[in-house]
């Protein structure tokens, strides 16, 4: 990602539908050979963006360039890309092999070349021996691989994927995630991948583009999104369980950034940064909370907390934690773990913290053997 021209350039593209959905004044640069994930809740415009790149939708305004060529008005087949659909869109009357070479046949590819490419695609996706089956005779995972094989057989440098894993069960999803990532790197293709699942985005992407209401909320590496969410929406969407977002009015004044007014602020704390004490004395810097429920997951336990005047928060503690619902606890965190957001517009504030605001709870932290810390 040096001065090289981006592979896909989306310039001020808008596409609006009757019912408000769509994308508004979108600009994205996608570098060659990268794995880009469009992430967002349903109706955020991520699928529309993908379909605009594919050419299945036409932009109302703006330009789309692929490999330095203006493709805004070019039909999908001339854009040199392939696509994996959420439903896989396999042709039910054709066999696996016929499905894979459908595009090659349409483009009148040479017979020998076609056989070679087919064999290669079958090999790469591990579908050998299933060539003559019909899609109805395959399992969900196998169908997904047929869709992948059809996408890579033509050797297009760009592959678009529209929630390709959402019809698979959780276990398979995990392994296919890795397979797709490996495949992308082996073939050196550019992948634009749409999902609403932030785990998929975090684990696969070079670049995550988080969208909301047809606009980009934040674009960056998974680490950027997690460690420095640009908005309170990004903070709440990325990470599982989500970051606790609390109005700053419940904080002691000395914990606030210098010169900030509590009414204008939201503080966000990742579940793993929250520390719980049951026996700690009521300290002015701590937030009192009540345990609502706990969820034991093996290596860790999620503790759901109710805090007066807020929507509550979640703490993530290692190992097994015994806290019965109703237990009063007090919450604290390391000062650097706090994320500050503007309450009105939601954007991130780089807070200048007062010197003494760094909480020094370490003294009584270790006094509570019932609750370990991460």
């Amino acid at each position: 990602m040096t001065v090289q021209k981006p592979f896909i350039q989306i310039e001020n593209v808008s596409r609006v539908f009757d019912g408000n959905n769509g994308v508004h004044d979108l600009s994205i640069d996608i570098p060659r050979g990268s794995f880009v994930v469009l992430l967002g809740p349903s109706g955020c415009g991520k699928s529309t963006t993908l379909r605009l790149i594919a050419g299945l939708e036409t932009a109302d305004q703006g330009r789309i360039l692929i490999d330095d060529q203006d493709v805004t008005a070019v039909p999908p087949s001339k854009r040199g890309l392939s696509m994996v659909f959420q439903s896989y869109a396999l042709f039910p009357h054709l066999s696996v092999a016929e499905n894979i070479v459908f595009g090659l046949k349409v483009r009148k590819c040479d017979k020998v070349e076609m056989a070679k490419r087919l064999a290669n695609a079958l090999d790469v996706t591990g579908l050998e021996g299933l060539e003559n089956r019909k899609p109805s005779e395959l399992s969900g995972g196998q169908r997904q691989r047929v869709a992948l094989a059809r996408a890579i057989v033509a050797g297009h440098p760009l592959c678009l994927m529209d929630e390709p894993l959402s019809n698979l069960d959780a276990k398979l999803r995990h392994s296919v995630r890795k397979d797709i990532r490996d495949l992308q790197q082996r073939l050196g293709i550019t992948v634009v991948y749409v999902t609403h699942d932030q785990t998929e985005a975090m684990s696969m992407a070079d670049i995550v583009i988080l969208m909301k209401d047809g606009r980009i909320e934040q674009a960056g590496s998974p680490a950027d999104l997690y460690l420095k969410p640009a908005t309170s929406f990004a903070a709440g969407f990325v990470g599982s369980p989500p970051m606790g977002l609390l109005p700053a009015t419940i904080l002691a004044p000395k914990l606030l950034p210098i010169g900030a007014r509590a009414e204008n602020l939201i503080i966000g704390i990742r579940p793993e940064d929250l520390k719980l004490q049951t026996k700690a004395p009521r300290h002015a810097d701590n937030i009192p909370a009540q345990v609502v429920s706990t969820e034991f997951l093996g290596p860790e336990t999620f503790v759901y907390l109710a805090i007066d005047g807020t929507d509550g928060a979640t703490a993530r503690l290692p190992g097994r934690v015994h806290l019965s619902p109703g237990t009063q606890v007090s919450l604290s965190w390391a000062g650097a773990a706090a994320h500050w957001f503007d309450r009105e517009r939601g954007h991130r504030l780089s807070a200048a913290m007062p010197d003494d605001a760094t909480q020094t709870h370490s003294v009584f932290l270790h006094n509570d053997p019932a609750i370990p810390t991460l």
Binding site: A54, P76, S77, A89, F91, H93, G103, V106
Partner: protein, 307 residues
């Protein structure tokens, strides 16, 4: 159970009892359908076959066994050949043309066009009309000089034509009415089938470089194959049984030019009271339809393996 031989294992008998019970159960399940089919299909067929083997009885000459004489008479009758070839032409034109029209109309009515539901119901209207009413409508259309068809052709300076009254055009006129009536009905089936085809397939095909025609030929038509066969069977049955409009339009004339087999059978049986010959003709129709049905089922099994 009381007279079991010493060595026989009682288990064996239990199994036979079980089997008998199963068989009885099967027959009980079959009974309603079997009774109805016997009453309305099997018995009439056999009775027809019998009456086709006897001569026509009058008070003076009671009917006697005549063997296949009635069949021989039919083959010797030139009307038989006229009617048979009429029906072949009728089937040969109405079946493919109404299917093709139905498909085109369905594709059109399924596309994103304005007033889509209006177009759909407009295409479907002929199906709701009774055939007799439709035939009366078309009688007006075909009226020489006054009908809408002659008005239009007359506008371009053509002479008035008696479409239904001359042997050259009568059959064609009847065929057109049938197509008009049937195509809308078949369109509904195609429309329903088209709506079960996910739009993703079209998009996938577009991305793979398939144009509209390639998509239709390589994806749409194969996926519509089960519907096509269903519609084809219906059209075939109709080409034999749909004769209501003949009563209104031509009565089979002029000079048998538009007479179809079933109309002829009706004429023989109920206008000329020649039951034996009508029965013989019916048997031949049944035979031909039976052969066609067997051939079709073979074809269906071979060609439509889908889902």
């Amino acid at each position: 159970m009381t007279r079991l031989p010493e060595n026989n294992r009682p288990q064996n008998n239990l199994i036979t009892l079980q089997k008998r019970r199963q068989a009885l159960y099967g027959w009980m399940l079959m009974a309603p359908a079997l009774a109805l089919l016997s009453l309305f299909a099997f018995y009439p067929t056999i009775a027809t076959f019998f009456s086709s083997l006897f001569s026509r009885g009058t008070t003076r000459h009671p009917s006697v066994f005549a063997g296949f004489e009635n069949y021989g008479d039919l083959f010797a009758d030139p009307t038989f050949w006229t009617v048979a070839s009429n029906n072949l032409i009728y089937a040969g034109v109405t079946i493919p043309v109404s299917i093709i029209f139905a498909l085109i109309m369905a594709l059109w009515a399924n596309a994103h066009i304005p007033a889509r539901s209006f177009i759909r119901s407009a295409y479907f209207t002929p199906t709701i009309l009774p055939m007799i009413a439709a035939a009366n409508l078309w009688l007006f259309f075909y009226t020489p000089d006054l009908g809408i068809i002659d008005r239009i052709t007359g506008f371009f300076g053509a002479e008035p034509t008696n479409w239904l009254g001359q042997p050259e055009t009568a059959l064609a006129a009847v065929i057109i009415v049938t197509i008009w009536k049937e195509a809308g009905f078949f369109m509904i089936f195609y429309l329903a089938a088209l709506q079960t085809i996910p739009p993703d397939l079209r998009e996938a095909a577009r991305i793979e470089g398939a144009g509209r025609w390639t998509y239709t030929r390589r994806v749409l038509l194969p996926l519509l194959m089960p519907t096509t066969i269903f519609v084809f069977v219906n059209a075939l049955i109709n080409s034999v049984k749909l004769i209501d409009h003949l009563f209104i339009l031509t009565k089979g004339g002029p000079n048998n030019a538009s007479k179809l087999i079933l109309y002829w059978i009706w004429e023989m049986a109920f206008a000329y009271f020649d039951r034996p010959h009508a029965a013989a003709m019916t048997m031949m129709v049944l035979l031909v339809l039976g052969i066609v049905a067997i051939a079709q089922f073979r074809l269906v099994e071979k060609r439509t393996h889908y889902r």
